[in-house]
């Protein structure tokens, strides 16, 4: 419950900077499409978590994930990790699009992406790498 309140507060803070129209957005909206995307991302998270922990993959400011330190991934696994990153970013793009669509405002996709980018970064575990305001990688 505490976590939920914290999330809502964080959301309000994050949305305060957005336009007053955008402030009407429901980021917690649920549709079968969103459920499907979230399910797919949740399944993938088990594979991504060790890569976040090792610093190989980090969270970008624009709501994506990126290969931060290629050297942390042995060559035989690099293609698989690249596909994992591509699939995750595809899902994230679909998620932002679906939330915008479900809110009946497809044009909010960019703002939703920005809000989520900050949200993932805020929620990242300590030790993970995230991009700061200037785009540089920092360890949380």
């Amino acid at each position: 419950m505490k976590q939920r309140i914290a999330n809502i507060l964080m959301l309000i803070v994050a949305l305060a900077g957005a336009s007053h129209v955008f402030a009407q957005v429901n980021l917690e909206i649920n549709t079968p499409g969103i459920t499907a995307i979230q399910g797919s991302m949740q399944k993938r998270h088990a594979e991504l978590a060790p890569l976040y922990a090792s610093g190989a993959v980090g969270l970008t400011r624009d709501g994506n994930v990126a290969l931060r330190d290629p050297a942390a991934v042995p060559l035989p696994q690099r293609a698989a990790v690249n596909s994992l990153i591509a699939a995750e970013n595809q899902d994230r793009a679909a998620l932002y699009r679906e939330i915008a669509r479900a809110n009946n405002h497809p044009e909010w996709e960019g703002d939703i992406r920005g809000t989520f980018g900050q949200r993932w970064i805020d929620r990242a575990r300590s030790g993970w790498f995230v991009q700061n305001a200037s785009g540089a990688w920092v360890k949380k």
Partner: protein, 658 residues
Amino acid sequence: MAMLAAATLWWLPVSPGNTQQISLTLDDITGAGWGARGIRASFINGSVSIQITDVQAGGQSWKDVRLDCAALRLERARIACDDGLLAAPALGEKIPLAFIYVTDKRVLELSLKPARDETWHVNMAPGKRGNDLGLRIDGGRLQRAAPWLPPEWPKLNAGVVNGTLGYTGDGRISAKLIVSNAGFADTTGLHAGEKIGFTLDIATEPVADALRWNATLQWQAGESFWQPIYLKAANQHLSAEGRLDAKSLAVERGVLAYPGLGEVAFAGVYDLADRKILQATVDAPAIPLAALHEMVLKPFLAGTALAEIRADGRVSAALRLTGAGLHSVDVKLHNVSFDDKAQQRFALFEVNGSVPWRADAATQASVTVKGGEILKMPLGAFAVLLNMHGPRFELKQLRVPLLDGFIDMRDFVARAGGADGYWQFTGEVGGISMDKFTTALGLPVMHGTLAATLPMVRQVKSTLRVDGALSLKVFDGAVDVRNLVLLDMFGKAPRVQADVAMRNLDLGLVTRTYSFGNITGRIDASIAGLELVNWQPVKFDARLASSAGEYPRKISQAAVQNISALGGAGAAAAIQRSFLRFFEQFGYDRLGWRCKLQNSVCEMSGVEGEDKPQGYVLVKGGGIPAITVMGYNRQVSWQELLDRIKRVTQGNVKPIVE
């Protein structure tokens, strides 16, 4: 021939004592492919120091190069230095060197020893024509070659080279180099190699205005990743020969022998100025498909249904490229079989034939398939005759046997090529027994024959659209699906839109199939504005109503109970329980149900025109004994309704007779 400009020489006997000093300045000196500017040399009592402002060689330039020799030995026929030091800011280190120059024979021996285990030994001597040059490398650090590599290439970060390189005055070059523990990487991590070991032999020979060359490369150790392909050394052997002139590099004969895959022959011409391939051919006969898929194709198919397949058979391929692009592809399939090993969704067995594609001519591909499976349903043998002309593909007719019936595809047309790509066809499905079909798909067993007409089916980008009505016959009635659109079909959340109309379905067959209790009669149904996201309904307006016309209308006790259960708890109360106890079957006049789904809530009503203030009529009684079933919940959550239907059709609800 070196050119010398503006030289000054002083010889200054400096007193007091016997100190001797010679100073020399040269403005510049240039030769073929190299040059030096601002040369100042001084010789003081046997110690020589040369400073050069700028040295250029092979397109590279070094500033402030300095060569010191503390004890230069000037003998009658020799000049020698045993303890020289070469320094330049760009080198980042002082490199010890030693040389002997035999003046009468004009032979130079020069050794550079940047590290204890690294020597670059140069030998220069007059040959038949001009000077012959030899280089022997022992433990050479490969990174020293980095400045000569194009800046866009991945950076060399490790490696040792041993071997020899020879140049004769008549223009012949021969080299034999053994590279070990080499590594390279770019910052993105998309191109990298580690612990790479290979042997390279190169020989060139001048012919009129060009060089003839041949080279062999054998890859013995290490691994490399070049997005998306990962390769491991397995004694791959590459040999090639050709011509090199000022404009182009030509490979006249090339062979890549790849253990496990076979031999691939190639040739081509590369334009050095425009940095593009002018023409090329690749010929790969009878490559085992399993190895080809694992090593080459799989990384490109990642994320598609074809990434995790089991493949068998052989494929021959011949490609021809010109400056304008791909000119021809000839593929031959020899007993190719593949199946979806993880999910068993599809399989094709014993595929044979040839695909002779040309960019600028009409050709026909002919492929036969002995059999296959789709969603665990067997496919029979079929043959494909595909007409091809550049990016356009046409198939007049194709019949694929499925179970005991067939799928017909007619007038298939496809256009390959990114944004302009599309495909379309019309077709028919017929003669498939519903019981076999439903059993294969794990659905409740239905009876009858599956027949459907597929009107124009068209895919443009990621949208699949069916123009006209997709019609099929089930439960002795007809189903028409109109305005069917599948959006974002390859995405994570595909969306389907359609309008569905069903006419005159035999309720006896329907209720038996779904163990709903028995209802005799006929029903019409419509689902307007159906919208599915990820195959789950999110919006529709569905109506069920008894079909018009004369036919027996009976409803069993179990069906009454089940309909009541669907209507919610309140509905059952309306049933006259004493009636239920005495009769197995009841007569009815009309059935009706409407569900308007929006925002996960289904708004329900019953037989049209029969709405009562207290509820709606699901079954309007008629005949003897008659029964009327009412519904009271006008709004029900979609999930709750699904759970009710599931309980009912799984037989979890038993009729309660008091």
